[in-house]
């Protein structure tokens, strides 16, 4: 599903150049649930941004579902993001003045799907994350866990190939974190490929494979036996 090889990325900071990714080789198969770990500055967010086509690598190749992701125009990038990827952020990034339902429906709007179908589909995803009765509420009327579940429903709405989660539990307490991880596991059980960036070991243990980054290189890549989040709640 994801094939990257020899990925390099550096940032220019004034006169200095900061080499963040120093040659990453990394593959993800369909249906995997991978966590990317590393201390801050290890390059894990940069890697996720490149995977999410929000940023572009200086060197190396990246194939997503067999499609080369290289020198994309803004237009093409937007199209691919919409079609291939679903994003889950630490700070949820819901649009404040839109209801939960409208937030979930937004990716479908950018797919050009008609209004009634959009609403139907968004509603079914909200049901899936257990928030159907909150559909008309604004984000600031929801708890942190509920917001993240709305964000997950939104990420799923466009039926993407890969879900990219950047510290999805970073802003949540432990119990809520496990509830969200449970949802992520459920979605993975249905066969969806998911990448989770985290620095929490207990969260990482709930995935199927841990990739450890340090100073821009992969130092460890191990398959782990998954801990079900539900057992910890």
């Amino acid at each position: 599903m994801i094939k990257i090889s020899n990925l390099h990325k550096s940032y220019r900071m004034g006169a200095n150049s900061l080499h963040v990714l120093k040659g990453i080789d990394f593959n993800v198969e369909e249906g995997e649930l991978v966590s990317i770990m590393g201390s801050s500055g290890s390059g894990k967010s940069t890697l996720l941004n490149i995977l999410g086509m929000l940023d572009e690598a200086d060197e190396g190749s990246y194939f997503l579902d067999g499609v080369p992701i290289k020198n994309l125009s803004e237009k093409q990038g937007a199209k691919y993001r919409n079609k291939f990827l679903g994003f889950i952020f630490q700070s949820f990034n819901l649009i404040g003045y839109k209801s939960a339902l409208d937030n979930v429906a937004l990716p479908l709007y950018y797919q050009g799907i008609g209004r009634s179908e959009r609403i139907d589909r968004a509603m079914s995803y909200l049901e899936k994350v257990g928030l159907a009765q909150w559909a008309s509420h604004l984000p600031n009327e929801l708890s942190g866990g509920q917001k993240q579940r709305v964000a997950i429903a939104r990420a799923l709405a466009s039926d993407p190939k890969v879900l990219l989660a950047d510290e999805p539990t970073g802003a949540l307490d432990t119990t809520t974190s496990y509830e969200v991880m449970d949802l992520i596991q459920e979605i993975n059980d249905e066969g969806r490929t998911i990448l989770v960036v985290t620095h929490e070991h207990d969260i990482a243990q709930m995935t199927k494979r841990i990739v450890n980054l340090k100073d821009g290189l992969i130092i460890e890549d191990t398959v782990v036996s998954q801990v079900r989040a539900l057992s910890n709640v």
Partner: protein, 414 residues
């Protein structure tokens, strides 16, 4: 533009940001409002002045001599010019078919008129019958002087109403004799003059009689001429200006005056004065347009500023949208659409409000120089169209900036 979902998005943002939208709209609406009101007042002033001049409808040309200020053909400056009967006759001969009314006047100031024990010192105008028409005199009793009086140098006199009151009190004046310079004159009429008392303390006698009685030979003091009416104002001005110029040339030639000597001969053309007023009005109108356009430009800059702030405020939202697959064009469309929509609606509101004000308050304005202020509807509509285009321009730069926002920067957690 006809994307219903886009409209939905616009209405939603507007609903959630009422104050911001209101302030944006206000600057545009007031811009249009001020422009339309200014244009209306400009038109009103033009109408008012046109009415003033149409009422008079006086295309009167007054010719009176002065003193030369330039040496010409060996003649020294400082020479007093004296118009003669021959000048007047020459003009009649040459332009008779163009003229409507004409009169030359021989004037004597401070002449004593006696009636019985009463006496007074008055101005005597020796002139032609047409003088009454030119001076807009109304008969109170009797008749004006006529062509017979002139031909026979009759000692007949028409007196102003004020003069009649001075000498005759309540007595009937017509048919009585008065003494002027020791000569008996018979009063044949009494007139009133719109010029008021000053013009009513005059006595009018035939020019032939005046020139003989006062030793005026064939001298005249001035000439009054009017031209035949023209189709419209502009044509009248053109003809009248040309006539004045020809007249000036003719008289300057006859009296050996330098062509560029402006003090030797005065030709006062009332239409030319009117024309000057109209030119001034056009300038004022131009000025109003300038002020109005500047107001709109200020409004547009205001909208552009507000849209920039909006874009800044929505950076994160735009980042989210882009992460979810919004294309740059759709972001530009969203921002532009909002700015055009707001400017157009606000512009129309300003237009309707100002037109209503002109419509209902305009006719109530009772000033001499503002009359029926209106605005051409096509002009008004064009203004709004310009405004919508301006709104698009105002929105474009912020929209373009919004499209350039990188989601990775917009979504960075602080």
């Amino acid at each position: 533009m006809f994307d219903l979902d886009r409209w939905d998005e616009i209405f939603e943002t507007i609903r959630k940001n009422k104050l911001r939208t209101f302030l944006t709209g206000l600057s545009v609406a007031s811009g249009i409002f001020i422009l339309v009101i200014l244009l209306g007042i400009g038109e009103g002033m033009r109408n008012g002045i046109a009415r003033e001049f149409e009422q008079d409808a006086s295309n009167l040309i007054l010719v009176f001599p002065g003193v030369t200020s330039k040496e010409h053909k060996g003649l020294n400056p400082g020479r007093r010019i004296q118009l003669k009967n021959q000048d007047y006759n020459q003009i009649l001969l040459k332009y008779g078919d163009q003229l409507d009314h004409s009169a030359s006047v021989y004037q004597v100031y401070n002449s004593v008129i006696n009636y019985g024990k009463e006496s007074g010192s008055y101005r005597i105008d020796g002139t032609f019958p047409a003088y009454h028409v030119l001076e807009n005199n109304q008969l109170a009793s009797g008749r004006f002087i006529n062509i017979n009086d002139l031909d026979n140098s009759e000692k007949n006199m028409v007196i102003g109403h004020r003069l009649k009151l001075d000498l005759f009190k309540d007595e009937e004046a017509v048919g009585k004799n008065v003494q002027l310079a020791g000569i008996n004159f018979k009063i044949v009429g009494v007139f009133s003059d719109p010029g008021g008392e000053r013009d009513e303390t005059r006595a009018i006698i035939p020019i032939t009689t005046a020139q003989k009685a006062f030793g005026g030979k064939n001298n005249i003091a001035n000439m009054y001429l009017t031209l035949k009416p023209e189709e419209n104002f502009d044509a009248a001005v053109a003809t009248s200006t040309q006539f004045s110029a020809e007249l000036e040339e003719l008289l300057k030639d006859r009296h050996t005056i330098a062509p560029d000597d402006n003090s030797a001969l005065h030709i006062n053309n009332s239409l030319e004065n009117a024309k000057r007023f109209y030119t001034l009005m056009d300038m004022i109108r131009l000025f109003f347009w300038g002020v109005g356009i500047c107001t709109i430009v200020a409004g547009v800059v205001g909208v552009s500023n507000i849209m920039l702030i909006i874009v800044k405020e929505r950076t994160r939202e735009i980042g989210i949208r882009k992460a979810l697959g919004a294309q740059p064009l759709s972001i530009i469309g969203m921002v532009l659409h909002e700015s055009i929509f707001v400017t157009a609606i606000a512009g129309f509101l300003g237009l309707i409000f100002s037109l209503a004000l002109l419509e209902f308050v305009g006719p109530l304005i009772e000033t001499q120089y503002i009359y029926n202020p209106t605005v051409n509807f096509t002009v008004a509509i064009n203004t709004v169209i310009i405004l919508v285009i301006a709104g698009a321009l105002a929105g474009f730069f912020p929209a373009w900036r919004a499209a350039r926002i990188k989601p990775i920067i917009a979504l960075r957690d602080e």
